[in-house]
Amino acid sequence: MFDLSSWLDLPLIWGFIIATAVFLYVLLDGFDLGCGILFPFAPTDSCRNKIMNSIAPFWDGNETWLVLGGGGLFAAFPVAYAILMPAFYLPVIFMLAGLILRGVAFEFRFKTSGKDRRIWDISFHAGSLTATFMQGVILGNFVQGVEVSNRSFAGGPLDWANGFAFVTGVSLVFGYALIGATWLIWKCDDETQIWAKRVANYVFVFVAGAMGIVSLCMPFIDDKISAFWFTTPNIFYLLPFPVLTCIAFLWLWKSLHSDNDVQPFILTIFIFLMGYAGIGISLYPWLVPFSFTVWDAAAASTSQSLLLVGTVMFLPLILAYTAYSYYVFRGKTHDKSLY
């Protein structure tokens, strides 16, 4: 049967594909969840409409990356999926509940006004906030590892509720708020843009602080991680990560005080990339830290081969028409154009 494993290191490739899909999810749904987090703080209803309109054509596509992350994990690493989902049962359910509440708010909100609309405004905000916080909690638990025995989760139902996970949850809320604010700086003008800049400035401080705290905590989670970062010659190869991140933060600060609309968003993406890559290389090659590597958890090579062909064929196509959809709705979001 069709099998590519003699030519390619399939588990490694799949680990990379899943990590990339999740990263694209974090970026793309990150900015629209961020918009939901900032939503109630917008100065006027007109601002809120602009926020909503700026993401309405995209949120569905953005969320599909989460489905690819989940579906891809199921297909390429079934045992990892089978361990992590029960391990994070309640956070996953709460995240999904949040995503439902915010997802339906788009269509329902368009169809209402006045007091009815307030209900969906709240649903949009609370849903976005819950989903983001829970994603942060899942991340915080993921890096700490889960208890496994005999290919199954062996921990308790509330293992996920711990201090570090709370910190990562809050951190992600600020992170998404930042990328949401910089998205709005790009896609909006006038009072919405001015407000978004002010918010970005404010959130910036928290993001920088949170990223610092999480980065400092990471090496204490597992000896392997601290050994990885703090031994020569690794420390020299890895030094660019913190250095580039610091430069990006400084540049972002400067950029937020300039007239450049798109630069803050790009720089925030870069900061996200650095943070994500930092976590990624710290955990490599664990897929279920610290019990299954990507090779231990890999599906049958024939399964990974089949789906790899589809991914190579369709992923470029997906990226192309996603880009096309962003191109169609390019430019500033105008409240006027609602009419």
């Binding site: 569905d60 199921f74 297909a75 999926y81 989902m85 999904l96 989760f153 024939t302």
Partner: protein, 467 residues
């Protein structure tokens, strides 16, 4: 070791979330195809009425599609949260099928949906039409993969079982085109088309009844009735073929559908009956003698499988399968009757005006949804007590989770789904009451959603700029 409460709760929770989910794809698969036809007709004829119809229904489509998306994201995680052991064992086989669904369908639908809903004057008319067609094709591709995966769970083949209990694929063509797949795919897509047809027909009947939007309503009604005339009988034939296929590969499911306990010939068709799982018989039967044998085998003394063919622990819950099957068939028959009546009234030139028939069509509006849900109950509960038929039992599939977790999530989903379902129905009814004429205002950026409600129009009049 196995917590039976957790298994039962996990089943109830999964059944609830997936039943809720299937309502929306069942509608949007058909609606997307129909909207593509309507927009095509508009492009070809330039008749504004088609544009009005499109713009009215695309709003309803948006609500339903959104509901389908949010409840669908849940499904992609529920395999792992509720059935992790199953996921681990069969992930090699059905994982890639679901992966292909995401890659070939979900992104396609999601990206072009944005253009379909919000791009009316952002792209050319042709490109907009292309977007609608792409979304419609996307829904069908999605149905292809998910039904391939589901059918494999019903009639698995093309795999090996390793010593550690994991399944590995041996032949992808056998896995995807497993014996029940072609029948299930045809049956479900046709069901989705009929669901849409009867929804559109019901709304059109309401307009004709109230003598509102008559021009639009006649077109909608005629199209719906054409589906009832041609597709409803076709569905009966597909369903029959599906049944024969099930008798070959899942005979116990057929035995449950027929309420038949002992294998043999000259078996009656139960119109009514009370299957009793404990006593192993079907009581209070109102039957057509030899009916089941005749329908399933073509001859009156044809042999029909019986539930006693297998030990009691290998039988599905009989009563719910038996009754769901009868509900589904009743809906199908009512649909065929609608088609026959439509031909008769068309011949009498009173199709659009015979009030009892309009009332009947309004009552038939939910028939497709009921039939789809009942049909899925038959096939999914009929597969019990296995998740992958004959390979893995449901009790061996469940995640290592405690009952309280599942109870909490079930409660949460019940609350949220009830609220959003209520809201969706409320807003859809409002859109229906508003009717198709609203789109005759100038086309605008977010027109699909902003022009909808009377209140907004009132605010316009008051000069508020705040939408």
């Amino acid at each position: 070791m196995i917590d039976l409460d957790a298994v039962l709760l996990a089943r109830i929770q999964f059944a609830f979330t997936i039943s809720f989910h299937i309502i929306f794809p069942a509608f949007t698969i058909g609606l997307a195809s129909w909207l593509a036809v309507v927009e095509g007709l508009f492009l070809k004829t330039g008749n504004k009425i088609y544009e009005d119809i499109y713009k009215m229904w695309v709003k309803i489509f948006a609500v339903c599609f959104g509901m389908g998306v949010v409840s669908g994201v849940v499904m992609s995680y529920q395999f792992g949260t509720n059935w992790s052991v199953f996921s681990d064992k069969v992930g090699n086989v059905i994982g890639p099928l679901l992966g292909y669904e995401v890659l070939t369908a979900f992104f396609l639908e999601a990206s072009f949906l944005g253009i379909m809903l919000f791009g009316w004057d952002k792209v050319s008319r042709k490109m907009h039409f292309v977007s609608t067609v792409i979304v419609a094709v996307g829904t069908l591709i999605s149905a292809f993969w998910i039904l391939a995966a589901n059918s494999w769970m019903q009639t698995p083949q093309g795999y090996d079982i390793l010593d550690n209990g994991l399944l590995v694929p041996t032949d992808w063509i056998e896995i995807i085109f497993n014996p029940s797949f072609p029948y299930r795919f045809m049956h479900m897509v046709t069901a989705a088309y009929l669901t849409t047809a009867f929804s559109v027909g019901g709304v059109a009947a309401y307009y004709l009844w109230r003598k509102k939007h008559v021009e639009h309503a006649r077109i909608m009604f005629a199209m719906a009735m054409l589906m009832a005339v041609f597709v409803a009988p076709l569905q009966l034939m597909i369903g029959h073929a599906h049944g024969e296929n099930t008798m070959e590969y899942q005979p116990i499911k057929v035995a449950a559908m027929e309420g038949n306990w002992n294998r043999g010939g000259n078996k009656p068709l139960y119109l009514f009956g009370m299957p009793d799982q404990e006593e192993e018989k079907t009581e209070y039967g109102i039957t057509i003698p030899n009916g089941a044998s005749l329908i399933l085998t073509g001859s009156r003394d044809g042999e029909i499988p019986g539930l006693r063919d297998v030990p009691a622990e290998d039988r599905p819950p009989v009563a719910i399968v038996f009754w769901s099957f009868r509900v589904m068939v009743a809906m199908g028959m009512a649909m065929i009757f609608t088609g026959v009546m439509a031909i008769f009234l068309f011949w009498r030139k009173s199709l659009y005006s015979f009030k009892p028939f309009l009332l009947w069509c309004m009552a038939m509006l939910p028939s497709g949804f009921i039939a789809v849900l009942a049909g899925w109950f038959v096939t999914e509960i009929g597969r019990q007590p296995f998740t992958a038929y004959g390979i893995i039992r449901t009790t061996e599939s469940v995640s290592p989770i405690v009952a309280e977790q599942v109870m909490l999530s079930l409660g949460l989903f019940i609350i949220i789904y009830t609220v959003i379902f209520g809201a969706a129905v409320y807003y859809i009814l409002r859109l229906v009451r508003k009717g198709p004429l609203i789109s005759q205002r100038a086309d605008t950026y977010y027109s699909h959603s902003t022009e909808v409600v009377g209140k907004i129009a009132a605010e316009d009049a008051e000069g508020k700029k705040d939408v």
